[in-house]
Symmetry: C2
Subunit: 441 residues, 2 copies
Amino acid sequence: MTTAKMSLGAFLMSSGHHLAAWRHPRAWAGGGLDFQHFKKLATTAERGKFDAIFFADNLALMGSPELGQFTTAGDVFDPLVLLSGLAAVTERIGLVSTVSTSYNEPYLLARKFASLDHLSGGRSGWNLVTSATDLEALNFGRDKHFEHGDRYQRAEEFIDVVTGLWDSFEDDAFIRDKSSGVFFQPDKLHVLNHHGENYRVRGPLNIPRTPQGYPVLIQAGSSEPGKALAARTAEVVFTAQQTLSNAQAFYADVKGRLAGYGRRPEQLKVMPGISPVIGRTQSEAEDKYQQLQDLVEPRVGLAMLAGMAGGFDLSEYDLDGPLPELPQSNSMQSRQALFIDLARRENLTIRQLYLKVAGARGHHTVIGTPKTIADTLEEWFVGQAADGFNIMPPFLPEGLDDFVDGVVPLLQQRGLFRTEYSGSTLRDHLGLQRPGNRYQR
Amino acid sequence: MTTAKMSLGAFLMSSGHHLAAWRHPRAWAGGGLDFQHFKKLATTAERGKFDAIFFADNLALMGSPELGQFTTAGDVFDPLVLLSGLAAVTERIGLVSTVSTSYNEPYLLARKFASLDHLSGGRSGWNLVTSATDLEALNFGRDKHFEHGDRYQRAEEFIDVVTGLWDSFEDDAFIRDKSSGVFFQPDKLHVLNHHGENYRVRGPLNIPRTPQGYPVLIQAGSSEPGKALAARTAEVVFTAQQTLSNAQAFYADVKGRLAGYGRRPEQLKVMPGISPVIGRTQSEAEDKYQQLQDLVEPRVGLAMLAGMAGGFDLSEYDLDGPLPELPQSNSMQSRQALFIDLARRENLTIRQLYLKVAGARGHHTVIGTPKTIADTLEEWFVGQAADGFNIMPPFLPEGLDDFVDGVVPLLQQRGLFRTEYSGSTLRDHLGLQRPGNRYQR
């Protein structure tokens, strides 16, 4: 059988993705900084033959202290530190870390991902984001975050520097020949000498080319500049889509842009986030979801909406009235558009809106039996809405176990998902080619 | 018995510290990027009850490509990535990473070390350096490295920002109370609001205070500004000292400065580097050393001296003539002074000088049986030249095995070194107090 297989990422987050996850009686509230918790989750995902585990990132304590106190936002590892630890205790699964281009140095970032790729035997992936808030800017000597267009323009240059640095050495440069004393062949070393608008970086990187050539490049912005960046450079797009038809439109849009950059559709995988709430019966799943929803306090729901609206404060408005007109945000523009669209389409009050997105911050929540979840994934996959999914368990560790034990076997029975890893790198799992070195003859 | 015990670090480096280590028949030339190699070394050091493993760092390919091709300089992990991996496969040993203040953001560095401290259960240490070369500056948008005084002034402010961020949350801020929904107590959160000459960082850090309060602060510069920074802030000083009397003078100097900052002598540990070349007999050890020395080619020896002289090119001079007068360097000033002093004192030719420092780049090399090595360590420790040592095996993995199997048991028999770990954190091992939070009542 050579039926195309879907890809699956496990998007892991402290106690889980639901806004009230940590308060669930069976969730591990201290999970955010418990390495053994993440080791267990990574092992579970690997048992489920997932392509990768995936971590988000923020460079500030998100939300005001008044509201942050009710969330797990202050309880997170630097994801590259965590994934480096997890690399040592896993064998096959990919390791994807979000890192912002706005407040990192390209030389340091290129080196860290190259190191993780070497350490893990070619299992690393970089989810490029540009950061979203002034809270982050204030931690890096700025009063305001870069404007949306500016930061994507910087990201475009940043990624060119990083990939250039990853090509510093040709693949076969290092011969380590004890008798001649030649460690690497100097004609296979290339100095980048990048002089751009935002960055000046000489190179070379002080590490050999990595097992994957480049760590897998992932992009999570769905705005216009985000899609343009993805079409030119990304190999995976992680996106939030609420409906099949929206997801299909997004899929066609992004895939359709690739030819303009000389790329083929299969060179970019579209992976929407899906948050599955799983029960043995439909009513058990719905009860589980309702139990989580009942734990969302209004102030926390409002804080989440404010965060997604770039800080716009909704607390003056009637919770049971309609969403007011919002100013265009400099923050996550595509996410803001998504939830405004959702509120209008379903005619939601403010309270209904925050409860609707509390499950996974705007990602699609599916509630039901393993069969219901598998049916949805199949429908989206077959319907050209997705090449795979980033699975966002509502609370942990149970939510991942439910998926691996219940949904994965169904997907495997239907021939939609691997029953064993066939390769050793994240590129192998995703069916992505290893990029050649730009300098190699 | 309550005799004071010495501390031991294992300073690990690809194939070993000798300039020609990787060419030795029993050295692992591919060690630099082999995680299993480092896992084995870390496990060996832990079996030997070392306080910590220790890694250096550079933010460029050091040396010209013409000369770098003969060294392992291009074959190194980012040390924080490597140590995060090693944290996952070790239990007790401390994990020390060098990171430069000159080309990192304090917020990112504070968060990465805090993450490693949480991940490892309180075993992290930060060896603060300020970087040394223009090669590094060129990778970060600068033409020239910061002047020596400037970069120490920046480091002074940097460390204040980082420790301030580590105090963002009081130790008991996170209560994670499911019933009330309060995750952390907001009155135990403190916003730094640092506005200094070089850095503006608001905070708070988005991670709880760490098991050690602060990761252990280590400083490796021995220049005047380096010693001043150490006396104010460092808990361990790593230093290169060629003779007992020089080491004693350095020890007295640094310890004597502490009172000026309201600190006691035992709050700062002085740990010179020592490179032991170990044989079952004196002549076996000397043969082993000579075998390494014979593998040093003149161009590589000259390149090392040039690196230590801030790029000053000695290749025009007679290899068998005296060291010329050298201009004051902006690079590692204390290291330059050390090797000029060595050449003058022992009346060395250029060739003799580079061979003399090829073993460990200016650190003291001791050649002999385990008893000879143990005698030297005891003499320095008892003679108030050192509180412990950073052991720099000439080649790996053999050099570390030799030390752990041969020297450690002798030190233990003499009551100079622990036979078992008594605590769980690096601070416990080193006998350093856990710092209180500046905001805590």
